[in-house]
């Protein structure tokens, strides 16, 4: 178990990158503390797998250093870094029994056979695969295969970090939930640093204490699930996390106030100065249907279970609101009110208002 530091990390798959577009990873600086559960969240192709492979040593970064507990490991191959990785598709050694699969990483490192035995039994117990130990791994179901892949990562007690690269992709939906809680439980038991890569916000938010949101090779925000939800640092985060995502609305800034479709909108705090495209961001959870406010016309009401999503048009702009109370009818003229403490201005995508009270 170790603290992980990424320092000025850049990576390009081209031999001579010329512009920032040639980089799959653009300048990553990150500190992950020992024993934490982290998630790397982002859409496909955002560089999260590249970052993971750099940490595991399968890729050498073009620039920058990786430190485990302040020791530079940038040039070490994967087997000398003491890491474990679980891949998207379960990797198991077909011809071996489940026991031998779990014992494989230990035996390769010359661990004494009685220690191997006790470690394997302990991990099998945790993963609830004890009854399968003597079966051939090839005959397991996909979710059990993936459990064995995880087990091979967890069986070594000296690992610096265990990494998961979208491990639930091939798992049936009803088993996904089970494995996810199993993983969370395992983290609490073994207390290893864990990094979980996914494009699924639910997986990231349920697994991790800290979520790193990436887009186009850049980290856009690092925070707890609550922080990402409550105060997205970038419109991308607001849109990517949440269902439905944050409303991102065109806005004009005049004399330090924000205007949307000609109406003044109260925001959380002072708007910073600067040039660029300005937008308003407000989550549907903080848009209310009220007696006064922005005039709007209801276009659609969708019942999604515990609440309803109301699509309303303010001028030509669609605003989504989440409503639990009395629902307006389609075509009805209503007024929308934004909760000021959760309404923010973004400039060129980045947060441009100060926290309330600051």
């Amino acid at each position: 178990m170790a603290k992980i530091t990424l320092s000025k990390l850049r990576h390009s798959y081209y031999p001579d990158p010329s512009g920032p577009d040639d980089y799959a990873l653009k300048e990553i600086d990150l500190d992950w503390s020992d024993g934490g559960a982290y998630a790397l969240l982002g859409p496909s192709g955002c560089g999260k797998s590249t970052l993971l492979n750099i940490i595991s040593g399968l890729l050498t970064p073009s620039e920058g250093r990786i430190l485990f507990d302040d020791v530079d490991v940038t040039d070490l191959p994967p087997n000398q870094r003491n890491i474990a990785q679980v891949f998207q598709f379960p990797v198991i050694y077909d011809t071996m029994s489940v026991f031998d699969n779990l014992a494989f990483p230990l035996r390769n490192r010359g661990v004494a056979e009685d220690v191997v035995r006790s470690r394997v039994l302990e991990i099998a117990e945790m993963l609830e695969v004890t009854d399968m130990l003597s079966t051939r791994a090839a005959n397991l179901s996909p979710d059990n295969k993936q459990k064995i892949s995880m087990g091979r990562g967890l069986v070594r007690d000296d690992v610096n970090v265990v990494m998961f690269d979208e491990p639930l992709t091939v798992i049936d939906p009803h088993l996904k939930w089970k494995l996810r809680s199993k993983l969370k439980e395992l983290h609490q038991k073994v207390r290893a640093t864990m990094i979980y890569v996914t494009h699924d916000q639910t997986e990231a938010l349920t697994f991790a204490d800290q979520v790193v949101v990436m887009q186009e090779g850049e980290i856009v925000q690092i925070g707890t699930p609550v922080e990402l939800f409550e105060r997205p640092a970038h419109t991308f985060v607001g849109h990517f996390i949440g269902s439905p995502g944050m409303n991102v609305l065109p806005a004009d800034i005049r004399n330090g106030s924000a205007y949307f479709e000609g109406h003044k909108v109260e925001v959380e705090g002072r708007i910073s100065l600067g040039e660029g495209l300005t937008q308003l961001g407000v989550r549907p959870e903080f848009v209310r249907i009220a007696d006064a406010g922005l005039p709007a016309r209801v276009r659609k009401v969708a019942d999604v279970g515990r609440h309803s999503v109301v699509d309303a048009m303010v001028g030509d702009t669609l605003v989504k609101a989440i409503s639990t109370g009395d629902l307006p009818a389609q075509g009805e003229a209503v007024h929308l009110a934004f909760t000021a403490s959760h309404t923010r201005v973004y400039r060129d995508g980045w947060l441009a208002t100060e926290r309330a009270g600051a």
Binding site: N79, Y93, T95, F104, N108, N139
Partner: protein, 287 residues
């Protein structure tokens, strides 16, 4: 009572007819010949199992069978490991992949009798490139028309040259189907190159390798054209393999009865060994 739709049998009928005319009926005529003695003018005498008894007790048959097993054993022992080694060392991506694949496929595209003729000329002691090089440049006596060992070495090298590619191509197909994650996981698990081969590459190649070995066994056990063109079974009888001997009996001596009996035994051995081999290779999968 549950009624079953039996209409499906009609759809099998055309195939059944096809197989009957190209395999079952010719085979039955062979069975018919094998229990009879033939003379000119289509005169037949029933002999029962006499040809089978004679054949199974004949030294000539034992010797040919021995040579056949020796030949097949040697070429399998060379071609399978060599094919795997070549497949492992071929590039998995890049511009050299098609170059390697085409180069590998070339020997298999050459007709069998051409292969025999090519190697015959190649190995001739006085004018062949190989023969001349060995005898006159390197000073190593080498004459496959006189020396049985030289003849054996030549037909084995010829077969290795002609057919190793089959093992290479099939193994290669198995190898490229292994996802990168397996190699990455093995690296992380600290596996040695031997372990990677033993626990990842070999198991993933197993299915295609089974096919490769089966095909090589059957083809080499039934081989006729190449050694016939190259050595004609000589010098003496030293390279007279089963099929060459069979043709000698059937068409040289026109002993159709004994030749038919030999064909059936030959067929039974090929079938038995193939079945044994296949059962052994796949028995682990059922566990």
């Amino acid at each position: 009572m549950r009624t079953e739709n039996q209409k499906a049998w009609f759809f099998v009928l055309p195939v059944l007819l096809l197989v009957a005319f190209n395999a079952l009926i010719p085979m039955m005529t062979v069975v018919n010949y094998s229990v009879q003695e033939t003379f000119g003018n289509n005169v037949f005498f029933f002999e029962g199992l006499r040809w089978f008894e004679e054949l199974l007790n004949s030294d000539r048959f034992h010797a040919a069978l021995g040579r056949q097993f020796l030949f097949t054993g040697i070429i399998l022992a060379i071609e399978v490991p060599l094919g795997i080694i070549i497949a492992l060392s071929m590039p998995r991506q890049g511009i050299w992949v098609p170059v390697c694949l085409v180069t590998m496929a070339l020997p298999m595209l050459i007709p069998w009798n051409v292969v025999g003729a090519m190697w015959n000329i190649f190995a001739l002691p006085d004018i062949g490139l190989l023969g001349y090089l060995m005898n006159h440049t390197l000073g190593i006596p080498y004459d496959m028309t006189q020396n049985p060992l030289a003849a054996w070495i030549t037909i084995i090298i010829m077969d290795v040259w002609h057919w190793t590619s089959l093992v290479v191509l099939l193994s290669y197909a198995g190898l490229v189907s292994i996802p990168d994650a397996y190699y990455q996981a093995a690296k992380i698990d600290g596996a040695s190159p031997w372990s990677v081969f033993r626990y990842i590459q070999l198991p993933k190649m197993k299915t295609v390798l089974t096919i490769a070995i089966l095909l090589r066994f059957m083809d080499s056990f039934n081989i006729y054209t190449e050694p016939f063109v190259l050595t004609g079974g000589g010098p003496g009888n030293s390279t007279t393999l089963l099929s060459i001997d069979l043709v000698k009996i059937a068409l040289g001596q026109f002993d159709l009865g004994p030749a038919a009996a030999m064909s059936l035994i030959y067929f039974a051995i090929t079938l038995l060994v193939s079945w044994l081999f296949y059962t052994l290779m796949t028995k682990d999968d059922a566990k």
